[in-house]
């Protein structure tokens, strides 16, 4: 069963086409990695999946709900879809603990105790329970991103979206974030990840999508993609990022 269905989606900024006729899907329990050169529209596509960016054409379904339908309660839908951003986007005026509980309390209506228990459990899971009382400004980039993942998990998401989660990190912090993501993937979380971490893709992805100039150029099972990508563009991209 498809968790995310993207059907013939197109998007323009004025005259400029950012996405052209994109069609793909993410099945329940599947891990799909989206890669491609910068400016190819991969981040835009993933932001469209929880309605942070409007689309001009096509339909997106998440867990059977149509995003483009004006009757859909977008906030409610988003509360079930975890999202992790390139620049972490923790709320700097709230402690780590409050970052983890605010959504649970204000959106899911959980009690403070309930939210605290769930928040601390997620924090423990990413190995940062000791940092609960600190503020985001006092944490390293890798720690902040792990807190951001914990914040998303605390909402008990049905799937997770990652928008280049390791691109803004110092090299030595990439691993700690990827480890958390690998663990999530092996537990069966449905994930759509925009990333250049091909090692991560090799390890846990079921499928790899390659985008260029706003189009989905390649949508293949992992082994096919890393074996012999059909498109020349994807071959070139892989040769560039794998040989350095």
């Amino acid at each position: 069963m498809s968790m995310i269905e993207i059907e013939q989606v197109s998007k323009w900024y004025g005259q400029f086409a950012v996405l052209t006729d994109c069609t793909t899907h993410v099945n329940k329990g599947e891990v799909v990695v989206v890669c491609g050169p910068s400016g190819s529209g991969k981040s835009t596509l993933i932001r469209c999946v929880n309605g942070l960016e409007p689309i001009q054409q096509g339909t997106i379904l998440v867990n059977g709900m149509t995003l483009t339908d004006p009757k859909t309660n977008l906030s409610k839908l988003r509360s079930h879809v975890g999202m992790v951003f390139q620049n972490f986007e923790l709320f700097p005026h709230l402690s780590v603990f409050d970052n983890l509980t605010i959504g649970q309390i204000k959106v899911l209506g959980r009690s403070k105790d309930e939210a605290a228990a769930r928040g601390l459990k997620m924090l423990e899971r990413v190995g940062l329970k000791a940092q609960a009382e600190k503020y985001p400004g006092a944490l390293s980039g890798g720690q902040q991103q792990r807190v951001a993942i914990a914040r998303a998990l605390a909402m008990d998401p049905i799937c997770m979206l990652f928008d280049e989660p390791t691109s803004a990190l110092d090299p030595e912090m990439v691993t700690e974030v990827l480890d958390v993501m690998v663990e999530l993937a092996t537990e069966g979380m449905t994930m759509m990840c925009v990333t250049h971490e091909m090692g991560f893709a090799r390890k846990v992805a079921d499928r790899v999508i390659f985008m260029d100039h706003g189009r989905i150029v390649e949508d293949a099972a992992k082994d096919d993609f890393f074996g012999t990508p059909r498109s020349e563009r994807a071959q070139l991209f892989l040769s560039k990022i794998l040989h350095h």
Binding site: R47, R78, V81, M83, F91, I102, V107, G137, R151
Partner: protein, 245 residues
């Protein structure tokens, strides 16, 4: 120049016999404080609301707030005050207008000055709050929406608390301006601090003492405001960020 200084004038009794000239000044100070603090509450609440409206993705609401700002920022304060005091009662339905005109003149003057200063300053607060909101990284709004907060919740719990911290220093200036601008209320007859000073000159012919005292009282108010706002700034500083960052 032969001017005979007489600092004792403040303690001499007024013509009515009840109280001293110092008492007059303190009465004026009371009205200035009441008027300015009241106007600041209006300005802060209304200005914040308008500042939010200017940034929401709705053309009508944003346009409405922009229109408000242009109207209240481009008309001289004195003209606005006369409009509130002399023109507004004429524009209201006859019954209501007459009721206003027959009420206690002091109340009329105070309400007109309060609304005038509040609405004028709100336009300026609005622009600062808008600037603060627009200076936030776009990702903060996305992150707030992504955990399922509605747009009003995102403003309430994430965007406004951050924007307000950024615009605290310019807001302090506006707060100070309210006290100084409140002197225009003397033109419609409200006996606030500056008007009391003038009255003192008329009765005692000691202009230097009177105006020095009035000036010092304004400075005293503003020093208190400044220290108060500095305290707020210190309290609200984002943890883990150094001063000046």
């Amino acid at each position: 120049m032969s001017y005979s200084w007489n600092w004792g004038v403040f303690l001499s009794p007024t013509p009515s016999g009840s109280g001293t000239y110092l008492g007059w000044l303190l009465q004026g100070l009371e009205w200035t404080l009441l008027l300015s603090l009241g106007a600041w509450v209006i300005a802060f609440v209304l200005g914040s609301l308008l500042g939010v409206l200017r940034t929401v993705p709705n053309r009508w609401l944003a346009g409405l707030a922009a229109g408000y700002v242009e109207a209240f920022r481009n008309v001289p304060l004195l003209v606005q005050l006369f409009s509130w005091y002399f023109v507004l009662p004429e524009l209201l339905p006859r019954g209501l207008g007459d009721a206003i005109k027959q009420s206690d003149p002091l109340i009329q003057q105070f309400i007109a000055a309060l609304l005038c200063l509040g609405c004028f300053t709100a336009a300026r607060v609005c622009e600062q709050v808008r600037a603060g909101l627009q200076s936030l990284p776009r990702g903060q709004k996305n992150a707030a929406l992504a955990i399922g907060l509605t747009l009003p919740q995102a403003y309430r719990y994430v965007l406004l608390p951050l924007a307000m911290r950024i615009v605290l220093p310019p807001l302090t200036s506006e707060f100070l301006n309210v006290f100084k601008n409140s002197a225009v209320a003397s033109t419609i007859g409200l006996i606030e601090l500056s008007r009391q000073g003038q009255q003192l000159v008329d009765y005692t012919a000691q202009p230097y003492e009177a105006f020095i005292a009035v000036t010092l009282l304004y400075v005293l108010i503003n020093v208190c405001v400044m220290f108060g706002m500095r305290w707020v700034e210190r309290r609200a500083r984002l943890p883990g960020h150094r001063e000046g960052q």
